[in-house]
Subunit: 324 residues, 2 copies
């Protein structure tokens, strides 16, 4: 069994050594750039960990793991255009550093490249792996569109929100694990149990992200604390607060999310105080724990020795007590 940091090292080495076509350079330089910006390599690591549970060789799974990371970075490249984001992981975004056309087209090439990497599996599982991958890819796009739609609607329900994060975040984690298991020659039902594990872990992970935006340690979080509040982003916390706030609390919340050009510090403080009063952090943590529990239940069903599941269990635990 390999531990997480060994797998991350392996993935980073593979990314660093990867050769891309060189012409036209405008298409491939942005790919090298975004892939080199770093990140936790969580999705390919999960894929390799799932593979490692079974008989398969993780070296053989490495191109497929890389394909998942290329796909993930393709979505970041295109999302950053849509979000008009200037920065990504401390560096300029691709559309800011080059231009929008290059970010669109490099992203398109990355999606093709991701498919080519996903195809580096045995014939016996080729169709299955590609079906799962296409399903993931469609889901992630749907999730992104629904997330954008949320910006212009007044009311979003908790159920709609959870479905959005399932599509935008959870299905990719889930599919990575399922594909990893299949490459590792798992039984169908074990691969499906790992999908469920990943899906619930992804949901818990995103709720944790919503909580960290406000309650994370500013030194460790890596993003601006309160960024979601400033942008009126419809997170679990805001949606829940809008749902349960009454009378003066409700009025105050409406005031802060409708006022333009608010002082950001005042706004973050006021809404954080409101969240504290309403106890939405606890409600989010409760929901997160439900998903974490479901994830572990799914992991329990995977038919391999307990010992082998240690790494995945630890990974899940670390993810949910993380500070960044």
């Amino acid at each position: 069994m390999y531990n997480i940091s060994q797998l991350q090292d392996l993935i980073n080495k593979e990314i660093a050594e990867r050769q891309y076509s060189n012409t036209p350079i405008e298409l491939y330089e942005p790919i090298r750039y975004i892939m080199g910006l770093g990140g936790k390599r969580m999705r390919p690591a999960l894929l390799l960990m799932a593979c490692d549970l079974f008989e398969g060789s993780i070296i053989k799974a490495l191109p497929v793991a890389l394909g998942i990371e290329v796909f993930h970075n393709f979505t970041l490249m295109h999302d950053d255009i849509m979000d008009k984001a200037p920065l990504r992981r401390g560096g300029e975004t691709v559309h800011a550093k080059w231009n929008e056309s290059i970010a669109i087209l490099s992203g398109d090439v990355m999606l093709v490249e991701a498919y080519q990497l996903m195809m580096k599996v045995d014939d016996s599982i080729l169709r299955m792996v590609l079906d799962i991958f296409s399903e993931i890819a469609t889901g992630v796009c749907q999730g992104q569109q629904i997330d954008m739609n949320f910006e212009s609607v007044d009311e979003v329900s908790i159920a709609e929100y959870l479905e959005m994060i399932r599509l935008k975040t959870a299905v990719l984690l889930a599919g990575s694990l399922q594909i990893g298991a299949l490459v590792g020659k798992s039984k169908q039902e074990d691969a499906e149990a790992l999908y469920k594990f990943g899906e619930n872990l992804g949901l818990a992970f995103q709720l944790q992200d919503d909580i960290l935006d406000i309650y994370g340690d500013p030194d460790k979080f890596g993003k601006q604390v309160g960024g979601d509040i400033i942008a009126n982003k419809k997170t679990f916390l805001l949606i829940k607060a809008l749902e349960i706030a009454e009378d003066l609390d409700s009025e105050e919340l409406q005031y802060w999310i409708t006022i333009e050009n608010a002082d950001t510090n005042l706004k973050v403080n006021a809404i954080t105080n409101l969240y504290n009063r309403l106890g939405v952090r606890q409600l989010a943590e409760h929901q997160m724990n439900i998903y974490a529990q479901k994830a572990l239940t799914a992991l329990n069903k995977v038919d391999v020795e307990e010992e082998k599941k240690m790494e995945l269990r630890q990974f899940a635990e670390q993810l949910l007590i993380r500070e960044n």
Copy 2:
């Protein structure tokens, strides 16, 4: 054997009847819209014609043909954003009708959808078909990037131009024919000969397009005559003219392509006269005929009865004497 218009009808029927997912509607409505804008359906028709040469059922090839058309329309949707084009086939472009984010994301979903449709082949050719398709897709993106690069460089050689149109236009026609042949259970070498046929036909087709921009019948061409001249687009004609013009001709050409806010009628007239004097139309037609000849030579090598090749031969001939 089916003739071209029967195949186009079949494809249009399939497109009209196609069901897409309905949520989120913002992703799928633009797909239905752009697919419904029409067009000659040349690529899927070629795919079906190639299939029809051999034993395969064209009904079985229909989803794959549709996949090629979805892919083609994905490239149009993204290219229109990059070109800031307001119109496509007489209708608004997707980014103009909705917005850029929707055009990016709908396009992404279309690329995934295209892969899903390409997968509707037998296991025995799945890997081969997807390899060809990925190769095409990468080539088209590379061609588009090189084409964009041409806008900001002073000198483009004829060889660079021909390589650009090979990637941007010809490989998709070529790959469509090759895939169609494989779905029709052709021998490898016949599929490859059809690739060569399509590649050369595509090159000839694009040169014809360059010629029609100026010498096409305005009532039939469907685009503004002289549009390439007005935009200083580096077509075969302009590149060749820049290469061979001397003294006063060269000075006059430079004048028109560097002057800003020129009267468009005057400019189109002046450059057309220059082209006539330099004989670049004849040079383009000569180059086009070389490719047409190569295409027909490749078609001759395909090991099926002459009679069966009639439709493809006619298609090629029609394409090269077309007025729109």
